[in-house]
């Protein structure tokens, strides 16, 4: 790993260079919230935020993705779509970057998903350490910090007059090398400064989820009345899953006119009863209790069983935005305490 320094004054220059040669997506303020959008000049960015409401996973697992185009009807022809687009996501938080690594497990496996994997391969993640975690942030419950570089190609940390720049792999190196005049090697004192910034951010995080042994515990309490209690206030809006950076479930639909059509996949949510409804009318998950439980189990039991990792990064979006205050920190911590 390379440790470099980038002067804050040089950030606009760095961004301008990036924008010249690449499609760059960065945090932008829009309607009072932060979203990741393609920018054309550095001044469009807003780096003074904790997290975007809408997760940047959407740039890799698009909310709507055309799988291929076709001529509809009974004399069909198929036309592949180009998925080779290259881009840079600048200012992604370590938690959101981790979510993309978590999603990758689901899209690799027995069948490779070319849309997700190609986009991930063609995307450089240039992260920005989080210095002001919010009330519902709990990334430290998963052995990560607001300044973990593990899941990023490059991580920038604001250490005062400079950004401390960690280049974790060849993809990152390729980028920094092309602008080597902007970077200088970091000194031990800079590393120390980064550690201080990291510790300060970690100390701000006040909420913690007890995840120790949670997968095994869930194995024992599937039928427990606890889930009915948890799901009682759920209104089934699905916000928790749409805004979750690790939720990957999708629907596939044909969109067509008389002469042209496309098969598209769109984000779906296990909170919808239609999600599992059979054509016969039978529904294996007919009640909200079934669906709320499935969301928790998918993240804390099924994903660990299949991929050896909890599918939660502790971003807290589902807590922030749940209209009835269902709190995943509380749910999981309480699940750990329930008597089987």
């Amino acid at each position: 790993m390379d440790s470099l320094l980038l002067s804050k004054n040089d950030l606009p220059k760095f961004m301008t260079e990036l924008i010249k040669k690449n499609k760059v997506f960065a945090p932008v303020e829009s309607n009072g919230t932060i979203i990741y959008e393609q920018i054309t000049k550095p001044s469009e960015m807003n780096l003074d935020f904790c997290k975007s409401e809408y997760p940047p996973k959407a740039l890799i697992l698009n909310q709507t993705e055309t799988l291929f185009k076709f001529t509809p009807g009974t004399k069909a022809k198929i036309e592949s779509v180009d998925i080779d687009e290259k881009k840079i996501i600048f200012g992604i938080r370590p938690c959101d970057a981790k979510s993309i690594a978590i999603l990758e497990h689901a899209f690799k496996g027995d069948y490779k998903d070319p849309y997700f994997l190609k986009k991930r391969e063609n995307t450089v993640l240039v992260g920005l350490s989080c210095t002001k975690p919010e009330i519902n942030c709990f990334c430290t419950s998963f052995d990560d910090t607001p300044a973990s570089s593990k899941y990023l190609d490059i991580l920038l940390t604001d250490i005062g007059d400079n950004y401390y720049v960690e280049v974790t792999n060849d993809k990152g190196k390729l980028l920094t090398k092309s602008m080597s005049q902007l970077f200088k090697p970091a000194k031990d004192s800079d590393i120390k400064k980064k550690k201080e910034v990291e510790k300060k951010a970690v100390d701000i995080i006040s909420r913690h989820q007890k995840t120790n042994g949670i997968a095994d515990k869930l194995d024992k309490i599937f039928e427990h009345p606890f889930w009915k209690d948890i799901a009682f206030k759920c209104v089934g809006c699905g916000t928790c899953t749409y805004l979750c950076p690790t939720c990957h479930c999708f629907d596939i639909q044909d969109e067509s006119t008389l002469t042209k059509g496309a098969r598209v996949r769109v984000w779906d949510t296990c909170m919808n009863p239609e999600y599992t409804l059979h054509a016969s009318g039978y529904n294996p998950r007919p009640a909200r209790t079934n669906r709320v439980r499935n969301r928790i189990y998918h993240k804390y039991n099924y994903y660990p069983k299949n991929f050896d990792v909890i599918a939660c990064v502790g971003c807290g979006r589902c807590i922030d935005l749940c209209p009835v205050n269902i709190d995943i920190i509380d749910v999981v911590t309480r699940a750990g305490e329930v008597k089987p």
């Binding site: 799988l67 291929f68 076709f70 001529t71 509809p72 009807g73 009974t74 004399k75 069909a76 022809k77 198929i78 592949s80 689901a106 899209f107 496996g109 027995d110 069948y111 490779k112 998903d113 070319p114 849309y115 194995d219 599937f222 039928e223 990957h248 479930c249 999708f250 629907d251 596939i252 639909q253 044909d254 067509s256 059509g261 098969r263 996949r265 779906d268 296990c270 999600y275 599992t276 409804l277 059979h278 054509a279 016969s280 039978y282 294996p284 998950r285 079934n290 499935n294 189990y297 998918h298 039991n301 099924y302 994903y303 069983k305 299949n306």
Partner: protein, 279 residues
């Protein structure tokens, strides 16, 4: 498609056979891939499934109901029920559909060599069993005694009538058909499939029982198989779920951490007892 599991191959409908009429009709579609090389190389094992799509309507996951021993085509049997299956029922020979697969696990046709097999089917549940039965019959010497138990509501609701008639003629296969309600001229069993099973009374010795059909039928078939002395690892069934991708990504067909599309659809009763989750 090799690089893109979502993009189907094009196939022509060669033939459409009416299996059952009435409110919930069933048709069998004989499909041939447009790519000759692909058609020759497309290999599957009984129990496996395919995603069949009509462009503009959508895709559905079906058991491949033909046997891989019959070369040059694949068949799926479709009950008219939802949007896509209704649209499929309106098609005619020569029309084009998309096919991707084969998906899922399969019946252990190799491991069951030398065993007596009991097939217990009901209604459209016969589709995956038909693939297996034809496979086993085409490799008859590899297997022991064969009992086929199949039931439908009325004699009109029996799928694959011609094939059952052919099987009934064979001396090395025992076919036990039933209908739920009495009908004039019906000389075979009247009653539900689980009761017919008790009447046939297959021996569990060196046997495997495979059952597919409506969930309520499967439930009582398994109870009765246990009464007859079958152990949980001698009983196999297939499950179904709403599916979109067929490759374990879209999320909806899970039972616990398993996806029916890729980890199923074939499960032993022993497996089913040990996984929890809605189904």
């Amino acid at each position: 498609m090799k690089d893109n599991p979502y993009q189907p191959w094009l196939a022509n409908i060669e033939e459409i056979r009416d299996e059952v009429g009435g409110q919930r009709p069933i048709k069998t579609f004989k499909l041939k891939f447009q790519d000759k090389e692909l058609q020759n190389n497309f290999s599957y094992i009984p129990g496996q499934c395919a995603m069949v799509s009509l462009f503009g309507e959508g895709e559905c996951f079906f058991a491949i109901s033909s046997s891989p021993t019959k070369k040059g085509f694949i068949e799926v049997s479709v009950m008219k029920l939802g949007k896509v299956t209704s649209a499929l029922h309106d098609l005619e020979p020569g029309d084009i559909v998309g096919v991707r697969g084969p998906y899922g696990n399969n019946f252990d046709v190799k491991g069951w060599k030398g065993k007596n097999l009991i097939f217990i089917g009901g209604g459209i549940g016969q589709a995956p069993l038909r693939s297996l039965i034809n496979y086993v019959v085409d490799n008859r010497k590899d297997y022991g005694k064969l009992d086929i138990i199949y039931g439908a509501r009325t004699s009109k609701d029996i799928s694959y009538k011609d094939e059952f008639a052919e099987l009934e003629k064979r001396k090395d296969v025992d076919v036990h058909l039933s209908i739920d309600v009495k009908e004039e001229g019906w000389k075979k069993f009247v009653g539900f499939v689980p009761d017919n099973l008790l009447k046939v009374k297959p021996s569990p010795k060196n046997s495997i029982a495979i059952t597919c059909g409506p969930p309520i039928m499967i439930k009582f078939v398994i109870q009765n198989l246990e009464k007859l002395g079958f152990t949980e690892d001698q009983i196999f069934t297939t499950l179904e779920m709403r599916m979109k991708c067929g490759i374990g990504k879209c999320g909806r067909c899970n039972i616990g951490n398993l996806y029916v599309c890729k980890d199923g659809p074939v499960f032993s009763y022993k497996q089913l007892k040990n996984i929890y989750g809605e189904r």
